[in-house]
Structure formats: structure tokens, C-alpha cells
Amino acid sequence: MSALNITKGSTSHSAYDLRDPYAEVIESHTLAVIVANESGVLARVIGLFSGRGYNIDSLTVAEVDHEGHRSRITIVTRGTPQVIEQIKAQLGRLVPVHEVHDLTVEGPSVQRELALIKVAGKGEQRIEALRLAEIFRANVVDSTLESFVFEMTGTPEKIDAFAELMRPLGLREVARTGVAALSRGV
């Protein structure tokens, strides 16, 4: 209870609390947003998320059609179904946005992320790190006598799992690209 005697999480006190108390399931969705590659467009998309209080778990962007100057922004976001619908509608009405796809609901999709993972260690630890890397099909892209940089692609979960395993083996640094995703099939 706050000083104003408002029960935590209660919706009755607030016209601003728009969420249906019965549908508080938080879902993760991967959105593909095709935008005109003009200056300021990414800022507009990110500003929409920060300005309206939406989550961004991951965001990647690159021009994918050089002739048409189109970029593809892949956003992994979280929210109740209502919030997810709002996010899509809000993205859709931005002037430079051409298309919004919810890959999570539009059918099966593939999601991949690339990560570089630096692990430092000696002896048994080093060998164990290398062994696990093989299992995860991570490549060694840099090595010294005391460190490796592994490169791996996979789902974010796979990268999380690998990084977690590396932690006791001398994990130093992780760089991740964020998720790129495409729907399966044609």
C-alpha cells in the first residue's frame, strides 16, 4: 500500500492503468519492421518505444535493399497481448514505416544471433572451454596462450546457455548482435 492507500497492482484507482487485470500474460514477440532508410528513422522507432514505455529486449538494423533504400529493423519486445497489438499499431502508423510483421504470430520463423565471447583461463579450464565450444559449434576466431574469442550463432537462448557455461571457465566479455529473424518457407 502506498501513502495514498492504493493497493499495489490495483487498476481501479487509475485511468492510466489500461491493462486488463485478467490478461497479464507477458509474451515475447519478434517484430520485423521494414522502413525507409532515411536519417532519423531509427530514432523515431526507438523514441516510440521509450516514449510509450515499451520494452526492447533486442534490436538490430541494417539496410537490406540498397536500391530501394529499405532497412529491416528486427525488434524483440515483451508485453501483454494488448500492449503487443498497440506496439504494432503504433509502429505501423509511423510515416517512414512500410511494413510491420509479427514473426511470432505469422507462422514459424528462424531467429539467429551472432555473439563473440572472450574466455580467459589456463590448464583444465581452457581445455574444458574449448570442448564445450565444440559442442556448441562455436568457432575460435582469436586465441592467445591465455584466452580465446569464440564466435557463435544461434538463438538467443543458445547463446545465453553457452555464456552461462563459460562463466566459471573465465568468461571475460560478451558482444552480441541482437536477433535477426525471418519467417520459414515462402
Binding site: N5, S12, H13, A15, Y16, G40, A43, Q86, R93
Partner: protein, 588 residues
């Protein structure tokens, strides 16, 4: 040497030409270093009129008043840095109220961008969240095209403000002019036709509803006069009651048979209770704003809801609806009427008769009743007299923000759209005076009155200079309660009558102020003199500042306190003791 093409011109010339080609007649602006080349071009021509404001915020609100009263986009021109930052409040206001504006700002030359140059500001960065779209034009070749696209974006779909930031070197450099017709069609083409299956579903609901209500908003006004016409036809043909938000007043005439008055926080008892008790709610171009819904969980609990809106993001944003129809109000209403007629114009007559009987009982409460006085002017009385004395005239009303605004919405009647300009979404004190000038510039012969509060009015009073210079005979009707009345009312109801900084002290003598500006000042404090004073204001050929000294502690009722549902509305003084629980105090 290349032969100069006939279409080759400087960026500055291009700007003026593009505005002309877009049919722009008036630009509201203020010069400065970064827009001097454009001002040079303005100097050299006579087609576009430039109205020199006194503050850039004034320019934007004038452009808003111009736009809202004509249906055309408003255009403003400001310099870089402080010129652009002064425009921010107006841009945000226009964004929230969906007003089409094209704002041009000067910028430091491209080679200086990022160096903290004199009067440099990241204008596109600052205005990104308060524009529908904005552009920094780095190349004169793209300038004309960008301006044409800007007009398309500002006026298509849900209208809104756009800004074009133009570095000074881009204004000087030359390039080929791109004609409006040559610009390749923008991919931005919001859908205007509604889904016919959803429209048919709505017709089926219309035919059966026992307690239907039309809940209309600014979208009807924005859709254009045809939409208002169709709305009238639909309302009259079905016999359903209709209410409107603050933004939608006038699309259905206040004198119309089925009119329940405005709804919302200070809306009419009958309108709010009808919203609460209806079984079919048809939202046409409104957005379930929190001033309308009150406590969301208890909003119209037993109704099936349909929502017609051109902006898909308005649908299911606040209130979940059963029949969403994405499209332009005019187009959707046309289809709706056609389908309904083709199916035999059915309505539930028995249900409707009972419903109107119930509504009549609510109306009998006479919620706008107030205790009049023969000693002090009650603000409600002042507006009743203003209404009586100006009804039927070619009249436009603007307002500031506060109690007076709500009373104006309650006590003035609007028979046509585009006659009422008020800051709804942002609630911008200081909107009304410049907006009234913008309206007057667009309608030189009309009677334009700004119903103001003394505190709001002071926020942009410098624009009286603009009114004088451009012979805009705007009437500033100030309901002077020497209070930040709306703040005072909330403090009384929600903060234990602790009136922290909510009174207007050291007010100017408004009559002397009027004289200082060279216009007419009128002061009135006795109800007996009011009619004559109002007539004097109307008859005076020029701007007037009318200081109407009103009751200082009047509260605006009805009121749905924040966090309360519609059926827990306050009607008058007696009911206000301790009714707002602490929870309501966190809301604005």
C-alpha cells in the same frame, strides 16, 4: 558553362514557390539569421501573406487556429535554435489534437551542424516526438520534393504537424524545382475505406440496440464538412442520442433534437449517464481519452462498443472494442448509411422510446444549473449572455485552458464544425489568443471571440501586438476570477483547501493594457451592465480586451473526479465534501 534551366532556383525561392503551389495563402512567422534568405524571397513577392508574430509559440497556435477553422493546413516559419524550441509547445499541441501544420525552421549551415554553432539546436531531434514526421533537408535538390511530401503527410490519414528543418546553405544553393505533380507518390497512404463486413456488423447492432449512443470526436471535424453532414443524416434518421467530446463540438448542431451535450470530466449529466448505461456505443472519430472514460474498469460496463477511427493505434488502445472499423469517418459513414438503408432502415423503436424516456429523466436534473447572483457576475451567466447576444452571428470561438474553457464548452452552442478551437489534448494555457488571431486572419469578416481566463491569457498576451498590426479585430473575453481557477478547484476538492499558488496577483489593469496596445479595453463587474458591455465589444471595429470580473470561487460542475466512473458524478457544491478519495489525487 551549363545553361541555367528555367526551373533552377535558390532553395529559398523554391520554398516560397512550393508553398504557393500548395495553395498556401498565409504564413505565420518570425525571422532570424537562419531564415533570412527565405525572408528575402517573401519580401520579393505578394502572393503569400506573412503575419509577423511576437513569439514563435504564437505563430504555431495561430497556424492551428487557421487550420482548424478552414480545414486547410496551417503554415509557420521560424528561425533556428530558440525560434525552433519556442515552437515545441505548439507542435505538441497540434500533435495531440491532430491539427495539420507544416512548420519550416531555419538551421545553421550543413557544414556547421554538430559544432554547437550560434543558434544551433538539434531541431529534428527535439521535435521528433512532437511531430507526425520531420525532415532535415541537407540538399537543395531534395527541398521542393520534401515540402510537397510534408503537405501530403500533414493532411493525410490522421492529420498532424510536420516540420522541415532547412540549413541556411541549402536555402542559398540552387537546384531544379520539382513540381508538386512530379513528386512520386508517397508510400504513406492511410486507408480511408472501412471494412464492409465490420460496417455490416455495426448495422446489425444498430438495428437491434435498445439503448444506443453516438459518441463523436474531433475525427468527424477532421474528416471534413461532408462527414458532419453524414453524421447529421445518420443521427436524424436513426433517432439515436448523440454526445461529443470537447474536440468534436459542432459536428452535430447543439440545437439538434438528439443532442445530449458534451461528455467527459465536465460533461453533461445526461451525456455521461447515457454513456454509462448504453447497450451500444458507437465511437466516431474519438479516442477514449482519460477525460472521457474516467475509471477505465467501470467505463460503460454493459455496452457493445464500435469504434470508427482512421488511426489503427487508437483502436483497443484504452478500451477494448467489439467492432473496430479503421477508416475515414466520412467514407465509413457513407457506407454505413447505405447498408443500413438498403436493409430497410430498421431501428428498435420500443427500446429507443424507453431510452429517450430515461434520458429525459436525466435531463430533468438540469445539471448546468447554477446559483445566479445580481451582485457579481457568475462566469456561467457571462457565457449565457455571450451566447444569447452572439447566437446566429458568423461566430468563431477559441478558448484558453481552465474553468472558463469548460464553461464555454457547456454554455455555448455550436451549430457547425470548425467554429470551436480549443486545446483539448495538451491543455495549453496561452493557446486561445494566438489561435483567435489565426482564425480571424482566415475569416476577416467573422466575429472571433477568445473566451479566456486571466492567467492563461497572460501567457501569450504579446500577440495583441500582432492583432493590432494585422487588423485582426479579435475579442478577448476574459473571465477574470483572479484565480488559476481550475487549479484552485482541484485544491479545494483534492488537497484540503490548501490554495498553494493558485491565485493571480499583480494582475495588469486590462483596460490600460488594451490602451497600451492601442486597442479597446472594457471592464465589467456588474451583471446589470453585462449585456451592454458585450454589445459594445461586438460592435467595436478592432481588437478588444474585455475584463469581465467574475465570481472568484465558482466551481465547474458537473465533474467526474479523476479515478471515478461516470455514474459517480458530482453535481454541485453540496456534494463535493470528501468525495474524492486519496487515490484520485494521483491523477491529473
Amino acid at each position: 558553362m551549363t545553361k541555367a534551366n528555367a526551373g533552377t532556383m535558390s532553395g529559398a525561392k523554391m520554398i516560397v514557390k512550393a508553398l504557393k503551389d500548395q495553395g498556401v495563402e498565409v504564413v505565420f512567422g518570425y525571422p532570424g539569421g537562419a531564415v533570412l534568405p527565405i525572408y528575402d524571397e517573401i519580401f520579393l513577392q505578394n502572393d503569400i501573406r506573412h503575419v509577423l508574430v511576437r513569439h514563435e509559440q504564437g505563430a504555431i497556435h495561430m497556424a492551428e487556429g487557421y487550420a482548424r477553422s478552414t480545414g486547410k493546413p496551417g503554415v509557420a516559419l521560424v528561425t533556428s535554435g530558440p525560434g525552433a524550441t519556442n515552437a515545441v509547445t505548439g507542435l505538441t499541441d497540434a500533435l495531440l489534437d491532430s491539427i495539420p501544420l507544416v512548420v519550416l525552421s531555419g538551421q545553421v549551415p550543413t557544414f556547421m551542424i554538430g559544432t554547437d554553432g550560434f543558434q544551433e539546436a538539434d531541431t529534428v531531434g527535439i521535435t521528433r516526438p512532437c511531430t507526425k514526421m520531420n525532415w532535415l533537408v541537407r540538399d537543395t535538390e531534395r527541398l521542393a520534393e520534401t515540402i510537397h511530401t510534408a503537405f501530403h503527410v500533414a493532411t493525410s490519414g490522421r492529420p498532424g504537424p510536420v516540420l522541415i528543418d532547412i540549413p541556411k546553405d541549402v536555402q542559398f544553393a540552387t537546384a531544379d524545382y520539382v513540381a508538386k505533380e512530379k513528386v512520386k507518390a508517397s508510400h504513406y497512404q492511410p486507408r480511408v475505406k472501412g471494412d464492409i463486413d465490420q460496417i455490416t456488423r455495426l448495422v446489425e447492432l444498430l438495428e437491434k440496440a435498445e439503448r444506443p449512443i453516438f459518441y463523436t470526436g474531433g475525427g468527424v471535424v477532421n474528416s471534413g464538412p461532408a462527414a458532419s453532414q453524414l453524421l447529421r443524416e445518420l443521427v436524424d434518421a436513426t433517432g439515436f442520442p448523440i454526445t461529443s467530446t470537447l474536440m468534436g463540438l459542432g459536428s452535430y448542431p447543439a440545437s439538434g433534437q438528439n443532442w445530449l451535450g458534451m461528455l467527459g470530466m465536465h460533461g453533461l449529466y445526461e451525456a455521461n449517464l447515457a454513456m454509462h448505461g448504453c447497450d451500444l456505443m458507437i465511437n466516431i472519430g474519438a479516442r477514449f481519452d482519460d477525460r472521457i472514460t474516467g475509471r477505465v474498469a467501470d467505463f460503460s460496463p454493459h455496452s457493445v462498443k464500435a469504434h470508427i477511427d482512421i488511426d489503427p493505434s487508437s483502436i483497443n488502445k484504452v478500451i477494448r472494442v467489439d467492432v473496430p472499423i479503421i477508416g475515414d469517418v466520412g467514407h465509413v459513414l457513407e457506407d454505413l448509411l447505405r447498408v443500413w438503408k438498403s436493409r430497410g432502415r430498421k431501428v428498435n423503436k420500443d427500446g429507443l422510446a424507453k431510452w429517450w424516456k430515461q434520458i429525459a429523466e436525466w435531463k430533468a436534473v438540469n445539471c448546468l444549473d447554477f446559483k445566479n447572483s445580481d451582485k457579481t457576475i457568475k462566469p456561467q451567466y457571462a457565457l449565457q449572455r455571450l451566447e444569447a447576444l452572439t447566437k446566429g452571428m458568423d461566430r468563431y470561438i477559441t478558448t484558453e485552458v481552465g474553468q472558463h474553457q469548460m464553461w464555454a464548452a457547456q454554455f455555448l452552442g455550436f451549430e457547425a464544425p470548425n467554429r470551436w478551437m480549443t486545446s483539448g489534448g495538451l491543455g495549453t494555457m496561452g493557446y486561445g489568443l494566438p489561435a483567435s488571431i489565426g482564425v480571424q486572419i482566415a475569416h476577416p469578416e467573422a466575429l472571433v471571440i477568445n473566451v479566456a481566463g486571466e492567467a492563461s491569457w497572460l501567457m501569450n498576451m504579446q500577440e495583441m501586438g500582432t492583432a493590432m498590426q494585422f487588423r485582426a479585430p479579435v475579442k478577448q473575453f476574459i473571465l477574470n476570477n483572479e484565480r488559476l481557477g481550475m487549479v484552485r478547484q482541484w485544491q479545494e476538492l483534492l488537497h484540503g483547501e490548501r490554495y498553494s499558488h493558485s491565485w493571480s496577483e499583480s494582475l495588469p489593469d486590462f483596460v490600460k493594457l488594451a490602451e497600451a496596445f492601442g486597442c479597446k479595453g472594457i471592464k465589467c463587474s456588474d451583471p446589470k451592465d453585462l449585456d451592454d458591455a458585450i454589445m459594445e465589444m461586438i460592435r467595436y471595429d478592432g481588437p478588444v480586451i474585455f475584463d469581465c470580473l467574475v465570481e472568484k470561487h465558482e466551481n465547474c460542475f458537473p465533474m467526474i473526479p479523476s479515478g471515478k466512473p461516470h455514474n459517480e458524478m458530482l453535481l454541485g457544491e453540496a456534494e463535493t465534501q470528501g468525495v474524492i478519495k486519496a487515490g484520485g489525487a494521483v491523477l491529473v
